[in-house]
């Protein structure tokens, strides 16, 4: 369809490893933002190249400069305040400083980009098909009807069912996964040579993430696309990346073939990142390995290794000069660490540490703190002036759970399964429609008062959960003041004691939340939740907004505190691997119901419900060449909780659903073996 004309560029493109000339060449890229208050150096000297039809993963934590460097390839950085220098060549042609008119010609045609949040990248007032056809009409000048025909074809290609009908839908009528598929269709419209995917799966559920990864892999083979995949998660890209570059503080610290980088890691940071990913195939008896500290923000020009203060290998030489990438292995494997030859195994570099008095799950059951029986929370759908009585979002629909003292109950499920609502009902933020929640035998009271101190909550995003105008000491002391647990003097003492407990300097109470890093803020939130000496702490996705290297710190902190205080925890998360690390018992939720509930090890070793199986299989494994073809991928998205499917709610996506049974008869949650509950027709309860 397209004729790819050879571009006459300045000089010849260099050749990549495969012998073909490189598609994208970035040399010594520098990006800084001239802000009124300070100059932030987002990218300081990045050089990389991408060969045709190769997948290049750019991995780094927030603020590492990974997105900024790719946005400068697209020429999408706002200037001012961004100042870009260096060289970016696309098929040998210099892109930096190219006038907008020329830039627009290749943007969207030769290079396309997919962003993290598909809802905000799609225009809500235009039909999806029209938005896909837009770039065709711009770059190819095709007629409207032809653009529409091609949009249908593309939507079909990216796996949107009944594309010829959905092409006229508006973005809000698509689910999250479908929107991201539509974005990919849009990116592919003009048959680009390079696709830049900026965290394309971060906002999606694990099951959908796996679908999108598969889709990109397929499309890449079909269209001979080069893909630059930007991510913070080494796990996601392991399966698809040919080459990987790990960025930190605006620099590439290690780069190489995926297999070399994952198996023969030559930089302590990469190895730390790999170690701090909670994994399903390792035992959970120990603490997670953690990288201390928080990612840095580079303000002045780098003169030393930026990772120095968090590095276990840091020695005298590290502060002397900025380490450059040097070859450490075959096929371009290079590392910017002067001590790379001293790197032993990852486990000796980043020890997992011993669990301080952490009990195992195989103990006799303790007493029940929270007892939830047949809890239902329905939100009425408001249409116009009246709320309809019949139709409602059934966020939680008949959940019964017990939380045991000193133990952690993990709740997992995709977004929209009602796990957050369940957690909020436990702290009386939402009023149940039916059922009971009892804490220590007493029904939960929605009125405020002292009785409410027994259950406290930790939110997903610690920053938005703190009043930005309050000092940290006031933030932490708030539960004390609400419940009148301390006078001014003892409150101050208690705050510094709590700060020490969560691993922050006791005198940091005078500062404001914005002065802390994400991980530190979550520590503050933990301190606040503990201030009132609660018996139960509900953690709603407490680590999912944090950087990978910091997640492990917070998980370990929570586990330690539980061992010390004996509190019960409800740990709500979408990430099965994280939940496995902290929980003693795990409940899997789907569309407002518990579909499987079991002690941790039983659930992870032998999942019974097909949904649990699918969730477990969707968890990415940070191993290159991991054979993913054996997996059963879930199709589609979670149906609307306003209108749950009849029969077994999972039957619409279940790979083993029995027609006529699963679609009509609702399975009951039955005890299969002691302590293990499953709601599935295909899992037989014990005889008798």
């Amino acid at each position: 369809m397209t004729t790819r004309t050879a571009v006459a560029g300045r000089g010849y493109p260099r050749e990549g490893a495969s012998g073909e000339p490189n598609l994208l060449e970035i040399e010594n890229l520098m990006v800084r933002f001239e802000l009124p208050a300070e100059t932030v150096r987002a990218v300081s000297g990045v050089s990389l190249s991408v060969a045709p039809s190769e997948t290049f993963a750019l991995v780094g934590e927030s603020g590492s400069g990974k997105s900024v460097s790719m946005l400068s390839v697209m020429g999408l950085l706002p200037s001012p305040p961004a100042v870009v220098s260096g060289s970016i060549r696309l098929e040998g042609r210099e892109v930096l400083g190219m006038p907008g008119r020329l830039l627009r010609r290749f943007r969207g045609r030769d290079v396309a980009m997919v962003f993290q949040e598909p809802m905000s990248s799609l225009n809500p007032v235009h039909r999806v098909g029209r938005q896909i056809g837009e770039s065709l009409r711009i770059h190819r000048g095709v007629a409207r009807s032809e653009a529409r025909r091609q949009a249908i074809h593309l939507l079909d290609r990216v796996g949107i069912p009944s594309a010829s009908i959905r092409v006229d839908d508006y973005p809000h009528e698509f689910s999250g996964g479908m929107r991201q598929r539509a974005m990919i269709a849009m990116a592919l419209a003009c048959d680009p040579k390079l696709l830049i995917a900026d965290e394309p799966t971060t906002a999606l559920d694990v099951t959908v993430q796996a679908q999108i990864v598969d889709l990109v892999r397929e499309l890449q083979a079909e269209y001979r696309l080069a893909v630059v995949w930007i991510t913070h998660d080494l796990g996601v890209v392991a399966e698809i990346a040919d080459r990987v570059a790990v960025m930190y503080a605006g620099r590439i610290l290690e780069t190489g073939q995926a297999s070399d980088l994952y198996r023969a890691t030559r930089h302590p940071y990469t190895s730390g990142l790999l170690r701090s990913i909670p994994r399903l195939d390792r035992s959970v008896t120990t603490r997670l390995a953690e990288i201390p500290g928080a990612p840095v923000r580079v303000v002045s020009e780098l003169a030393a290794c930026p990772f120095d203060d968090r590095c276990p290998l840091a020695a005298d030489g590290c502060q002397d000069a900025l380490p450059e990438l040097e070859a450490v292995g075959p096929e371009g494997h290079s590392s910017a660490c002067i001590h790379h030859h001293e790197m032993g195994s990852a486990s000796s570099l980043w020890p997992e540490g011993t669990a301080a008095g952490r009990q195992d799950s195989e103990e006799q059951p303790g007493d029940v703190v929270v007892s939830i029986r047949d809890l239902r929370v329905h939100f009425p759908i408001i249409r116009g002036m009246r709320e309809s009585r019949k139709r409602a979002i059934r966020a939680v629909d008949g959940v019964s759970l017990d939380v045991v003292r000193g133990k952690t109950l993990g709740i997992v499920g995709e977004s929209g399964c009602g796990k957050t609502t369940l957690g909020r009902a436990m702290v009386a933020l939402v009023r149940p429609t039916g059922g009971t929640i009892e804490i220590n035998g007493e029904p939960i009271n929605h009125r405020s008062g002292r009785h409410r101190k027994v259950v406290q909550m930790i939110f997903q995003d610690p920053f938005s959960a703190m009043n930005p105008g309050m000092r940290v000491s006031d933030v932490i002391a708030e539960p004390l003041r609400i419940h009148r647990l301390a006078d001014a003097g003892t409150a101050r003492e208690r705050v510094s004691e709590l700060l020490t407990q969560v691993g922050l300097p006791p005198d940091s109470g005078g500062r404001y939340p914005h002065e802390f890093s994400g991980g530190q803020r979550q520590r503050i939130a933990v301190a606040r939740a503990l201030a009132a000496d609660p018996e139960v702490v509900v953690c709603d996705e407490p680590v999912s907004s944090l950087d990978v290297s910091v997640q492990a710190q917070v998980i370990n902190l929570l586990a330690d505190l539980q061992a010390r205080t004996g509190m019960a925890m409800v740990f709500i998360a979408h990430d099965l691997a994280v939940v496995r690390h902290v929980s003693h018992e795990v409940g899997v939720m789907y569309l407002g119901e518990i579909v499987e509930k079991a002690p941790r090890d039983q659930l992870y070793e032998d999942p019974l419900h097909p949904y649990t199986k699918a969730l477990l299989e969707a968890v990415p494994v940070p191993e290159p060449d991991y054979d993913a073809s054996q997996r059963t991928r879930l199709v589609g998205d979670v149906p609307s909780p306003a209108d749950p499917p009849a029969g077994c709610r999972f039957h619409t996506r279940c790979p083993v659903a029995v027609e006529g049974l699963c679609s009509t008869v609702k399975p009951a949650l039955e005890e299969v073996t002691p302590g293990r509950w499953v709601s599935c027709h295909l899992v037989s309860p014990p005889a008798g």
């Binding site: 001239e34 802000l35 009124p36 200037s79 001012p80 305040p81 100042v83 870009v84 220098s85 260096g86 060289s87 210099e94 930096l96 400083g97 909020r424 702290v427 009386a428 933020l429 405020s448 008062g449 002292r450 009785h451 409410r452 101190k453 406290q456 909550m457 939110f459 995003d461 938005s464 959960a465 703190m466 009043n467 930005p468 105008g469 708030e478 539960p479 609400i482 419940h483 606040r528 009132a532």
Partner: protein
């Protein structure tokens, strides 16, 4: 391609320029308001004569002794205008305070309890916003009688609706912020969340609408006094205009010193506060 020094400077300049205009206007507003406040506070020292005493023949043309001449009963017009700033500013500030107190209370309550209580309150606000302003003001002022306190009350009671709306919309968004949820999840009573987390966060917005309310109140006071509904004892810019009108100064050459100065001052005072309000708003909500 490397960015040269010249380019760098251009970028820095562009960054700075973006935030300059509101600041300039804000400073201009502050200067105007500051000058007026100084005039009002030091009026007895600044004014050459007592404005309530007959110190010369009526209808004098401007002279070295009486820079703005005298009025129909022989008061020095310049002194009258200088003292008039006291009334105008005081009515403006006090009426705006009244309006803000009512507006904030209604706005916070309506925003925090948006369902039944909130919508009832907001219907009341709508009614006040719909009512034709000036006729109501005249009727109320005439009914309550002519006194400074009444003027302040009438103006305050009529202009609280707008701050109420602005504050309610802010509270609506604040109440679903996670830190408010967090406080509620800790077991905080409503009073706690409102006083600790909601009201302090509306303070900035309230300041903006206060300043704007002052600007509006000054205009309203001038309008009332011009219509002869102000306090007959107090001399304000509006009442100076009223007397100028009744004595036919609008049609004689006297308009240049009798009508123009108080008129300009009314405009200037209102403008000064409006400029401050604009600059504040730009700071509070730059994407407006």
């Amino acid at each position: 391609m490397t960015a040269t020094g010249g380019e760098d400077r251009a970028i820095r300049r562009a960054v700075r320029r973006r935030s300059r205009l509101p600041t300039i206007l804000g400073v201009a507003g502050l200067v105007i308001v500051g000058a007026l406040v100084v005039t009002a506070v030091f009026a007895p020292w600044l004014a050459p004569y007592d404005p309530t005493e007959r110190i010369a023949r009526p209808f004098l043309f401007p002279s070295a002794e009486h820079p703005l001449g005298t009025n129909d009963v022989g008061h020095d017009l310049l002194s009258e205008i200088i003292f008039g700033s006291r009334v105008s500013l005081m009515v403006g500030l006090v009426a705006a305070t009244v309006a803000l107190l009512i507006g904030t209370t209604v706005g916070v309550i309506a925003g925090y309890y948006p369902k039944r209580l909130g919508s009832t309150l907001m219907r009341g606000v709508d009614v006040i916003l719909i009512l034709p302003f000036l006729p109501l003001l005249i009727v109320l002022a005439a009914y309550l009688g002519r006194s400074l306190l009444n003027t302040i009350l009438v103006i305050g009671l009529l202009i609280w609706a707008e701050p109420a709306r602005i504050i309610r919309s802010q509270v609506l968004s604040l109440r679903s912020r996670e830190y408010v949820l967090a406080a509620r999840s800790m077991g905080a009573p409503d009073r706690w969340t409102i006083l600790r987390h909601i009201v302090p966060r509306t303070a900035l917005l309230a300041t903006g609408s206060f300043v704007r309310a002052v600007s509006g109140a000054i205009l309203l006071e001038a309008a009332l006094s011009f219509l002869g509904l102000g306090d007959p004892i107090q001399k304000s810019w509006g009442s100076t205009l009223y007397w100028a009108q009744t004595r036919g100064a609008f049609l004689t050459p006297a308009w240049k010193w009798w009508v123009l100065p108080p008129g300009l001052l009314i405009m200037l005072a209102s403008l000064g506060f409006a400029l401050i309000a604009f600059s504040l708003e730009e700071r509070i909500n730059p994407r407006l």
